[in-house]
């Protein structure tokens, strides 16, 4: 058995999700090959070659792969996958986008969003927004999996694999990249942060999210939000933590003015330590919080910033 791991990156840097994918893949086989597809991404391949447990890195470096459009990435992965029993990609918006295409083109099922590898053909995944946990077994000829990276430890970076260049070029005339509007932030990304502070409807408006900035700066934290805060238009959707947003598992998660809807809990309940700050002492968030502070967030946040 051998696993092809699709590297998560943005042509600038290799994302830690890749290390976590490799760690997850080690549950299947010790023969792990990483595929890096992108443009101007030779340095990414070098970085992937350093991940412990990786035996080889394949580099498909071409302008056609710059934006990792699913139409051509899926064709590339299908071709490369011929030599492997498994393909793993992160359950990010990139992996979720192209992997089902890969599965369909190979005429096999996809197992989405796994949180545990039980055996080479058996995986654990949440369903119903994490209200149930299913263990599923695949009898497909090739096993296509997306991995919830937050559920796995990251493989170390003390490897020394070789990099092999692929000259396969897959293009599609049917889709093209137009533009991107990326949130510019000095802060860590939500899915990679050790500390996250999130605001909910209790923040009252988007401007009040600034109250979280000072605390986030002091803790090196990412800033997130509940779906209620996103739906109310306080903050953009890419800050959303929850079933339909990002799934996170930081060392410390601070929920501010968040009641704790199932939707939100599904996205953060695997955090190591959860702190809840809410003025409603009956809020469901307190039933999952390690430390709860009942109080008005507009009093508590400035005090917390000063105390850190």
């Amino acid at each position: 058995m051998s696993v092809l791991v699709y590297a998560e990156h943005d042509n600038e840097s290799l994302k830690t999700e890749t290390n976590k994918l490799v760690h997850a893949a080690l549950g299947v086989s010790t023969d792990i090959v990483v595929l890096v597809a992108g443009s101007g991404c030779a340095a990414i391949a070098e970085a992937a070659a350093k991940i412990s447990g990786v035996s080889k890195v394949l580099l498909a470096d071409n302008t056609v792969y710059e934006h990792q459009l699913p139409e051509n990435i899926a064709e590339l992965v299908v071709e490369v996958a011929a030599d492997y029993s498994h393909v793993f990609a992160a359950a990010t918006t990139t992996g979720k986008n192209f992997m089902p295409r890969v599965a369909a083109l190979l005429d096999v099922a996809q197992i989405s969003d796994i949180i545990k590898v039980e055996a080479a053909d058996t995986f654990v995944r949440p369903i119903y927004a994490g209200n149930a946990i299913a263990t599923v077994q695949s009898s497909d000829s090739k096993i296509i999996v997306t991995v919830r990276a937050a559920s796995f430890d990251a493989a170390e970076n003390d490897g020394n694999a070789s990099v092999e260049i692929l000259d396969t070029v897959k293009t599609s005339e049917k889709s093209s990249y137009v533009s991107a509007e990326l949130t510019v932030s000095e802060r860590p990304e939500l899915t990679a942060a050790d500390v996250i502070i999130s605001g909910g409807r209790g923040m009252q408006n988007g401007d009040n999210f600034a109250l979280l900035n000072g605390i986030a700066d002091k803790l090196g934290a990412a800033i997130g939000a509940s779906r209620a805060a996103v739906d109310a238009g306080f903050v953009p959707n890419d800050m959303q933590v929850g079933q339909t947003g990002k799934i996170v598992a930081p060392q410390l998660y601070i929920a501010v003015g968040i009641s704790g809807a199932i939707q939100h809990l599904a996205g953060m309940k695997d955090s190591k330590v959860i702190v809840a700050i809410n003025k409603d002492e009956e809020a469901p968030i307190f039933s999952v919080a390690d430390y709860g502070l009942v109080g008005d967030l507009f009093d508590v946040l400035p005090q917390l910033e000063a105390a850190l």
Binding site: P126, G130, I133, T135, K174, Y177, T191, G292
Partner: protein, 252 residues
Amino acid sequence: MKILVPVKRAVDYNVKVRVKPDNSGVDLNNVKMAINPFCEIAIEEAIRLKEKGVATEVVVISIGDKACQEQIRTGLALGADRGIHIETDAGVVIDSLQVAKLLQKIVEAEKPDLVILGKQAIDSDNNQTGQMLAALTGMPQGTFASEVLVADGTVNVTREIDGGLQTVKLQLPAVVTTDLRLNEPRYASLPNIMKAKRKPIDVKPVADFGVDMTSKVTVIKVEAPAQRVGGVKVADVAELVHKLKNEAKVIS
């Protein structure tokens, strides 16, 4: 322009599901069912495109036992023109690939210019069907859409991606899957609910499609998630910071 909107009957999003005592699955007896929320957004988007004069016909399709005709009727009440029901036996679970293969046959027969689907169903949480359908039919895809603009045989789809938004241009016919912020679905009015009863639903037995319905993925068990035990309430910020530093040791 014709738009096809596949929809799924799923547990109502307000229902907190329970795992069956024998761990064979989730207990769906006497549980309120509804149209999957992302599918509702897909219908709304199709109806808006029709109201703008971009689309001329909206066809809603669902796969399942007789009960899923309720969800097709909901789609018709919201403004879709007609329905297609691919009927299976009650209690049959079909996976995303099989759904995509059945939809592929419908796409070949109906030749829609745009297929709009929800990005995922809130029961199986797979997030696969739209992408699989696109691959099987050779269509380009715009997943997790927050904006859809149709012009001159193409569609520009703005997508919710990790870190922000991305816009892609797709040649029609194309597949679009919906994210939360695409629109806010309307409620069906009573006159429209009455009118929907007279709109046609074409019922086709699943056996007519020649798609292999045996799944290669077996559910071994379904369990309730490990419960997180609530901790302690702290009196003030000073106590909180003290505990985070000395007890939990997550800040220094």
